[in-house]
Chain length 740, copies 2
Amino acid sequence: MQSLKVLGLGVGAAALLGLGIILGHFAIPKGSNQPDPQDLDLEILETVMRQLDASRMREDLRELSREPHLSSSPRDEALVQLLLQRWRDPVSGLDAAEAPQYEVLLSFPSQEQPNLVEVVGPTGDILHTCRQREEDLTGEQGGPDVVPPYAAYGPPGTPQGLLVYANQGTEEDFKELQIRGIKLEGTIALTRYGGAGRGAKAVNAAKHGVAGVLVYTDPADINDGLSLPNETFPNSWHLPPSGVERGSYYEYFGDPLTPYLPAKPSSFRLDLTNVSGFPPIPTQPIGFQDAKDLLCNLNGTSALATWQGALGCDYKLGPGFRADGDFSADSQVKVSVYNRLELRNSSNVLGIIRGAVEPDRYVLYGNHRDSWVHGAVDPSSGTAVLLEVSRVLGTLLKKGTWRPRRSLVLASWGAEEFGLIGSTEFTEEFFSKLQERTVAYINVDISVFANATLRVQGTPPVQSVVFSATKEIRSPGTGDLSIYDNWIQYFNRSSPVYGIVPSLGSLGAGSDYAPFIHFLGISSMDIAYTYDRSKTSARIYPTYHTAFDTFDYVDKFLDPGFSSHQAVARTAGSVLLRLSDSFFLPLNVSDYSETLRSFLQAAQQDLGALLEQHGISLGPLVTAVEKFEAAAEALGQHISALQKGSPDTLQVRMLNDQLMLLERSFLNPRAFPEERYYSHVLWAPRTGSTVTFPGLANACSTAKDTDPGSEAWAEVQRQLSIVVAALEGAAATLRPVADL
Amino acid sequence: MQSLKVLGLGVGAAALLGLGIILGHFAIPKGSNQPDPQDLDLEILETVMRQLDASRMREDLRELSREPHLSSSPRDEALVQLLLQRWRDPVSGLDAAEAPQYEVLLSFPSQEQPNLVEVVGPTGDILHTCRQREEDLTGEQGGPDVVPPYAAYGPPGTPQGLLVYANQGTEEDFKELQIRGIKLEGTIALTRYGGAGRGAKAVNAAKHGVAGVLVYTDPADINDGLSLPNETFPNSWHLPPSGVERGSYYEYFGDPLTPYLPAKPSSFRLDLTNVSGFPPIPTQPIGFQDAKDLLCNLNGTSALATWQGALGCDYKLGPGFRADGDFSADSQVKVSVYNRLELRNSSNVLGIIRGAVEPDRYVLYGNHRDSWVHGAVDPSSGTAVLLEVSRVLGTLLKKGTWRPRRSLVLASWGAEEFGLIGSTEFTEEFFSKLQERTVAYINVDISVFANATLRVQGTPPVQSVVFSATKEIRSPGTGDLSIYDNWIQYFNRSSPVYGIVPSLGSLGAGSDYAPFIHFLGISSMDIAYTYDRSKTSARIYPTYHTAFDTFDYVDKFLDPGFSSHQAVARTAGSVLLRLSDSFFLPLNVSDYSETLRSFLQAAQQDLGALLEQHGISLGPLVTAVEKFEAAAEALGQHISALQKGSPDTLQVRMLNDQLMLLERSFLNPRAFPEERYYSHVLWAPRTGSTVTFPGLANACSTAKDTDPGSEAWAEVQRQLSIVVAALEGAAATLRPVADL
């Protein structure tokens, strides 16, 4: 569009100036030398930074979090319409926007039969009933759309048994109870959040015959020990005694019935009997007020010091209640779960700004839309940032003053809270196209956990662009410090290449970036503002997944003035523009060399001796890492040379393809047959503490107690060959494109 | 290089003509209009066609087939050096050439203990011994490097039992024997080539307790019935009585010990006990002269008419020999196999001509180098073509008169005869790079089966470029007919789009194209000259895989004058140049619409009713096919518009990427867990006669005899969803790149 207009001008000019111009136009070969290819425009960048408006994000957040918007609820669909309207706005919208739906399996508590946790006396009388909903402290917790606390995908059932305390419900925790001689068969296990994943607590418990699981949040883990009403929300940012963390207890991600296939109405769906990853036994989360009533009345020996919390009593292990407590000694706990699985339509909202020069290269930026209750922080703080970034870019677009070099795709994902479902189905539906064309994926879920510092998770190639962006943006509330200079004070590491730099975290499966990095192999990042860890030990912001995660909570406690929202919007916006508009793609693939070298050193130090004992040499891995380092080094010199010269668009396109596609070369769909979607041989889930190649580490920990020549040791060798082949393939991607 | 020189001129001109020129140069946007991008040069094409020299191919073939060059033998390695020398020649060589090696598992007969097939009388006396080597008819069959006939990967063993005749050794054949009440347990089954794959004969036999398998070539199947010495080579092209077809009896392809991993010395290797795909029982091929001695003495009832052959007797089924024959009634057949598995180094030879404009786009052209014996036809007739094409292109390159737009990669694969091993390991080692950058793969294995007509196998996108090329080349020995006009007389079909056109065959796994199309999803083709089917019913050229496949055989009988070699060289060369040099990639992806529509119609006709009975609708498949057709149609119009205008290089690059990557979008590595390497959902192996989507067809044939609600019916639905998702993904690849 734009280029055509300019061409029009050019032709007009040519007509006026005659022969010389025509000569000039044709005598100088096109494509072979481009004095001014469309590149990042610093004025546009500056304008975008300036126009990202904190007060608009505040107003958007107020609207987004006005009502609960649980996945596939009427309000969730209303927000779909809000996003479509914004992205189709003639003055500040995008080129196009759509809201495709998937038919996915969700889990909800029954409205007729609320889930129930009771203490039942020996004669069957009910001695205590836990709260079924949170206390209505701000007038927002009582509404009909506030879903009662529950464990999504937890099976229905009404187990009853003696109560035991199982700490965090890890495998070690249950082993400890076993060692202590505590009979777990048929018991109800009370566990606290943290340590193990939600679903893992029930899986571990069931292995020991436990009949039901309760989960609560201990004030020691979330409130820095505080638990009194006057110390908690609405009087502070802390979690009130009745607050309950909801969540998905499904162990994988994506729609449970359609793994690897988009959940279209006509798609093949697994029979429920063939679905794996759901908790095996009924599970229910409760607040710490109720947990205290149960835990502080337990019988038995004292739990380890590390198992104690801040409920103001000595945590005993059980089984059952003590005689001199509130309940008679042989009272039991009954957990009544009536959750139901339902096929629901969930929408993604997709918007696009078409690239002017390379429309077939995509920069993706997304966040989920669905919440558990009002979700002011999770996810609306991120959605407010998404809306503001799209408003500012859309306005420049509609004015005709800017169009990105590459295409921008903005996404509001559905059903993330149930297991990254909307984003995963999207990657399944457009697998080839996305894998071939996507430059990077930017995720901003919760944009502000707290207002102390930036926190970024991502793969090595995105480090440099995040650094460049954050060095140019002023950090809120810290005078003249840049976001970068503030960040480095909170998270830093010593890089052999750069010295002290901010440290990026690695990407797990905590938000919608997971299918992009693990399944598609697209360089990804997650951006947020977060805590000063010296000021709080809270596991996460205290009202996470509760009915107290409201607009006032953000406005009063997390980010008064919304300057942290603005900082995240500027960071995401700047990274987005640099990726979409830079002539040379700002992905520094050579930063992978540092990661590979550190993975290698860790493997040599922690696994080398064990492997040697079994006649397995790390030599080929050393060689592969060296080949990668050499190829990355040489490519770096090639880039500098190109940048000094005047490369044509095709030369840079070819280079950019190498940079874009490097991450893909680490994929092997056959590397981890047990791990759904995980194909990236460097970032798959890793057991054990050694930060190294996950397949190798996991295989070693399985093999180490088996005989030489076992299948487990063969798997170690297979995993070693898989990572060597991946690194050699990656090096081949970086070498000169016409090398054999 | 070239473009820089021109730039120099341009800048000089600019300096001379001053302001106007500078204005002209800068006012008119660069990249938006390119009067003459590097495109296919018809003069160069004409020169190449003219210079491809029949007599040089004759001389090269003489040298290539002078000695036996079994995979990894000294002579095979000598030919590696010959190829390296040619491709590194300063006057006619390529930019670079290399010969990387893999360490692969091959199978050879023992030199100390030759394999043996004997008739053993009741008292243990040897009544008959089959030939252990072919008769030395031309002085070329007696040499020490002539590997005796054997079944590669057939296990060692010395089974002995009554002989039965099992026709082609298909499942149906053994069922038929069972129905006839013939006890198969412990027998030796005599089978003839054809019908089932080599390895399948032993697999089927073992299921019925057969102890050993013999395989021979019936004169009815290979010699149009002729079998007398004076009717066969060296007196005609027919197979002599002592000729034996060797071959690999391995059921998969690629190195058996390193599936999905390149067979580097350090790579993980399967334990032999975990290797699948080898024949389960000892197997040995014999000549029809020996087969006659065995078959014509069999006892029992007559075989079906369709089981009869041309050995000049009534084929009986056995078991055992008849009393009034050459052997006593209760004589048995003893098969002694002493084959050994060996890890050997096998080389690929790779050569490259670097692209001038898009060096990161590869056109691959290859053939295997290893033979069973002298291999004049298989593979040297193809290698001679490869050498001549590379000589002509290399000469233009070294003269500086030509460099392709894209990179050309030429390959001489090793160990193809053992199961496409060299090419498969190459695709495993460079998976990502090849998948991202390869435009197409051209295979010319046996270049001349016979000299009647062209025969091409390939996927739909290559049809158009093969048509364009062959319309411009004169067909040998047919006056003024083009290769196309001659071809259409032998193989044709009625296309709803084009009317009567030559018909391309589809790609199985018969040569090195298999890993490229099935594993990498690269558009591929196989080119050869072949028979007039009205003149012979030979299964393949009669001396296939025997010691009679020699230079004189080609020179006297298959292609005197080598005009068919020249026709194939011109066809391959023209296709190669069109793919490497055309500004617009000559891959007509819309030709897939016709294939998908015909697959759909076949599914509706042959499977529709059955599916409906089980409540499975083909509706979503219909929709997916329609979406593909619409997207392909629209893309076609976009291409025409671009070609009429003056598109810049980037616009065409983006379009070409869509064309190149379409084939990839049909891949699903999880579609066929049982089928090693097969990921292309349209071309995976298909059981049954319906030419349709293989996954769907195979699942239906498994499910049709099972209960509704069986796992087999669930698999039908899964396969349907897999193909629907693939077609939807393919359509998304063809739609405008910035569509949502």
